[in-house]
Amino acid sequence: MTGFRAILERDLRLALRQGMDSVMVVMFFVIAVVLFPLGVGPEPNTLARIAPGVLWVAALLSVLLSLERLFHNDFEDGSLELMALSPPSLEVVVLAKVLAHWLVTGLPLIIAAPVLAILMNMPADGFALLILALLLGTPALSLIGAVGAALVLGSRRGGVLLALLILPLFIPVLIFGVGAVEAAIGGFPARAPLLLLGAIFAATLALCPWGAAAGLRQALE
């Protein structure tokens, strides 16, 4: 547990001190969403119709953008090898790093999302569900992404490759995330998609640290 806290605190401190990271991710999120009214046209009903999907896709891409750096810097300067040699198992290291990553990038996205929902003219019924769905969904995205980020360490053209590997696996989160928000807007019970999102989160929390740790082990060999 002390190892978990040490890595978490280190990553958060690094992110805060050198960090434009969260600001950049939120900026990307905002700009990506703002492109849609300009591209599709500012007609309020159209925007309200596509708002949940656009917000989720933009959140997905923002998380993806930040994932490449999850292990990369530590891999380059060798601190990842020290972490692998340290007493806490590599799975715990992965969990700590993913939690730090989510606090730095996922949480700011969730805070920015309602503001963007207003810009997208989303009906007010969906706001609470949007936040709830993002709270369940974005940690799952970070966890799935950790597996991909570990696998592409040291490869040629890592960033594009990461997108190709991870985006197909993000699709279930996207489907049920948008499903929950649209159910709330349409006045239907959003229980089923929320439960499924929770199930995805629980499954990724249980399985992805193992996958990511296996990925890191073969990268460090």
Binding site: G148, S155, L164, L169
Partner: protein
């Protein structure tokens, strides 16, 4: 059993014997299946002649899942027991499976246009098959993304195992969701719901697709292993020339 096949030379000998048999079986099964499917079987009372697309579509979709299962199992065996031939088998399965997946999607679109009135719908079965296609592409991209081929093999093996969650989702997508794609009609608890006149050519074509997969898989594996041996020998020659 695992150890027995870990010797590439033994595999080369065995596959050398089996490959022509597989080729022959593929030709006979596909010939019989195509004849029965295209000429001897009746047209469907609702779908008319388009039902014959099924004789390609169903085997291709079946093999798309079969290849991925084989790929994931070989990848796991290669990763856990460091089994050299299993690694080669996993790498060789991927392009074949990707082609079958594409064929299933393509023939499905051809069938969907006259029957559903659209080339593509975003229902659960079609979407999960598309995801499977992306998983194959991702596997192949990751496999070849490293300067050290060993790393590519291991990284893509982990990816193949992670991506396996998609296979049961595809299989049961027609039961879990209300899809436009029809539910299973062969592997059912209460027996198949297809008339034998159509079931027979379908089974023959599935058999042909399976033997085709084994045939091409062994050809690709033999090529990979030979390539490895040529590279190793060149390296030895270069070292001798240098020394």
């Amino acid at each position: 059993m695992l150890n027995y096949f870990a010797n590439p030379r033994r595999f080369m000998k065995l596959s050398g014997i089996l490959t022509p048999w597989m080729a022959g079986a593929t030709l006979i099964l596909a010939g019989a299946g195509l004849y029965l499917g295209l000429f001897a079987s009746p047209a469907d009372y609702q779908q008319g002649e388009t039902v014959r697309i099924m004789y390609v579509h169903v085997p291709a979709a079946w093999m798309a899942l079969f290849c991925y299962t084989g790929l994931a199992i070989s990848a796991a065996v290669g990763l856990i027991w460091k089994h050299p031939v299993a690694d080669v088998a996993a790498r060789a399965s991927a392009p074949i499976g990707a082609c079958f997946t594409f064929l299933a999607l393509f023939t499905g679109a051809l069938w969907g246009k006259p029957m559903w009135g659209t080339w593509w719908v975003w229902d659960a079965r079609l979407t999960s098959m598309l995801v499977l296609f992306f998983l194959y592409l991702g596997y192949m991209a990751l496999n070849s993304a490293f300067d050290d081929p060993q790393r590519g093999t291991k990284a893509s093996a982990i990816l193949a195992m992670v991506g396996f969650v998609n296979v049961p989702i595809i299989k049961f997508s027609v039961d879990w969701w209300n899809t436009l794609h029809q539910p299973a009609s062969i592997l059912r608890m209460d027996g198949p719901t297809i008339h034998p006149d159509m079931l027979w050519p379908l089974f023959l074509m599935i058999g042909a697709a399976t033997t085709y997969y084994l045939w091409v898989l062994m050809l690709r594996m033999r090529r990979d292993l030979t390539e490895g041996r040529v590279r190793a020998r060149r390296q030895i020659q270069a070292e001798e020339a240098g020394a």
